[in-house]
Amino acid sequence: MCKLFSKYILIRGVFIAMPSHPSFVEKYLPYILIAPALGYMLFFIGYPLIQAIYLAFTKNGALSLENLDYLLHSPFSKFYEALTNTFLLVIVIIPIQVAIALGLAMLFNIKFKGRNVALYSIILPLTISDVAAGLIWYTMLSTNGFFNKLFINLGITSEPIYFFGYQFRQMEFLAIVITEIWRATAIVFVIVFAGLQMISQEHIEAAEVFGANVWQRLRYIVFPMLLPSLQAALIIRTLFAFQIFGVVWTLAGRDIPILAGEAYYEQVELKHQGVAAIYALVIAGISVAIGYLYIKLFKAKYLEAGT
């Protein structure tokens, strides 16, 4: 396109004696506008990555596997636990979130009075930090918290249910799952809902006219057309889920070690820069792998076929 543009100027130049070349700035203007942003991001992602590799695998300027050895074999390192817990949280949380978000999106696709107010309420958790979400659910679940008092007063339980503390780790895990579902389902919902709204009503009505019942309309029309949005939602939610930190740290601390939490702990509390760097690299590696996997797995066939 740029070539065409300069040619056009050239032709014009021949005929009406205009400047025969656009100025340098004019010709490369879009690149000049994009370059600073792109350069900034490349530096702030590229440099730390290289630095992380350096930190991870050197000691006093020489190549060393000491950090890796600590990570994998030291009794103080909780790497395997962190890896297991992070994956476990992702595996438990994501399917529930996707199911709820899909259901909510279908629900909110129906027009009803007060839909906008309900919509704003539903997405409210999107706006708060994970630390705040953790504290809010601490309020709900603590021994003197809302749910324990409610349940005891309703006679559902006679003793408070303990959610927090090292000896109640399984309940802590449950609290984390509840909080994450409360907090981050909205992200999946917003994407799926936007995708659902983009499906033209006529496509669904056409299926209705041609005899499809509610289930068939979902199965043959809505769901396949929603697939790209669902894919986007899954990628984003999964990537964020692997970075889970604030909620776990506020609700369970290191009772339930997770990758980002261990990175934080090694870096800030123990000053093990190299070990923290390996955690960072592991999270980055998992993210890239997940992104690649999803794109390979879900392919909306009809979007791929060439013209």
């Binding site: 006529e202 009505e205 056409a206 299926a207 209705e208 006219v209 043959y220 076929a305 013209t307």
Partner: protein, 367 residues
């Protein structure tokens, strides 16, 4: 194949009344066009027949069957949507096969029918493509093929040609009409384009503000418009309208416009005498006003008026002349190419047999 009856259909959306009491009989195998400006309720009426909307009042009958509250799938209707609504994630073949698949038609029969419909619409080579690989016209054919493949009782079309370019629209117009004649399906076709309505419809129902203004064959609608709205909506350029006062002389009824008077035949006295002294709306089509030197030999009686040429549009096949008679600007449509100087004098002749008279209060046709 079935006839369709609408009885007192009313549909409201909140406070707005989209359809305000419609009665319509569509005969078996007929091609009827719902014609009207945007927002007149024609699409809503179609969607009520489809079952996509439930009316607030009234009944929809297919033959003797009351289908008012039946969902679309129990009505055996088909529809071509304005946006075509060809599903982007299905190949052309699967799009056309979908209605049959839902009805659990055996596979080999589906195959036969899809190929039949594709052949009819000349899209056999496209069956393996995805919709985004098709042009607008091809997508439109897919939508029509999908609609006829089930051999529906009633075929509904919602402005199916409005998204096509002008040339293709003319071509598809005749193709859809021919196709309908061939498969003889009861068809209800919605459009805002009067040319489409005139060329395709066996009958036309002209709609305005949620009501049917007139139902009739295209020539009836054109020659005998029931009211000012229909008269003004059909025909291009628009019919000339002006106010006149009626008085009756011994052997004729006279329309007094002010600048000029129009003396009508004696036989109209009977009809017009009730309106003596009252103001009425007079209408005459641009093609029924002639320059003095171009009066067709078949014309029996004219009224001549002198005016000044105000504006001329030369279209090649026709010439449109705007003539200022003092109080009115009358528009003439003369066939062929003619040249008139703006500002020059011109004597024009109004064909008195082609004059329409409407009541001023109800705007209904008197003659």
């Amino acid at each position: 194949m079935v006839d369709v009856k609408l009885r007192g259909i009313v549909k409201r959306f909140g406070k707005t009344v989209a359809v305000n009491g419609i009665d319509l009989d569509v005969r078996d195998g007929e091609f009827i066009v719902l014609l009207g400006p945007s927002g007149c309720g024609k699409t809503t009426t179609l969607r009520i027949i489809a079952g996509l909307e439930k009316p607030d009042e009234g009944r929809v009958l297919f033959g003797d069957r009351d289908v008012t509250y039946l969902p679309p799938r129990e009505r055996n209707v088909s529809m071509v949507f304005q946006s075509y609504a060809v599903w982007p994630h299905m190949r052309v073949y699967d799009n056309i096969a979908f209605p049959l698949k839902i009805k659990k038609v055996p596979k080999d029969e589906i195959d036969k029918k899809v190929k039949w419909a594709a052949e009819l619409l000349q899209i056999s080579e496209l069956l393996n493509r995805y919709p985004h690989q098709l042009s607008g016209g091809q997508r439109q054919r897919v939508a029509v093929a999908r609609a006829i493949v089930v051999e529906p009782a009633v075929l509904l079309m919602d402005e199916p040609l409005s998204n096509l370019d002008a040339l293709l629209r003319v071509k598809m117009r005749s193709e859809i009409k021919k196709l309908q004649r061939r498969i003889k399906v009861t068809t209800i076709y919605v459009t805002h384009d009067q040319v489409e309505a005139m060329t395709m419809g066996d009958r036309i129902a002209v709609m305005n503000q949620g009501k049917i203004e007139q139902v009739g064959r295209p020539d009836e609608i054109y020659l005998k418009p029931a009211n000012v709205f229909v008269a003004g909506f059909i025909g291009s350029p628009q019919m000339n309208f002006f106010d006149a006062t009626i008085y009756i002389e011994k052997d004729k009824a006279v329309l007094d416009v002010g600048d000029f008077k129009l003396g009508l035949n004696k036989d109209l006295i009977e009809v017009l005498k009730d309106y003596e002294g009252k103001t009425v709306i007079v209408g005459i089509r641009p093609e029924h006003i002639y320059p003095e030197n171009l009066i067709p030999s078949t014309t029996k009686k004219v009224a001549k008026v002198e005016g000044i040429v105000d504006f001329v549009e030369e279209l090649g096949s026709d010439t449109i002349v705007h003539v200022n008679t003092g109080s009115q600007i009358l528009v003439l449509k003369i066939s062929g190419s003619h040249h008139y100087e703006i500002g020059s004098k011109l004597v024009i002749a109004l064909d008195l047999d082609k004059i329409h008279v409407f009541r001023k209060d109800t705007e209904k046709a008197i003659i």
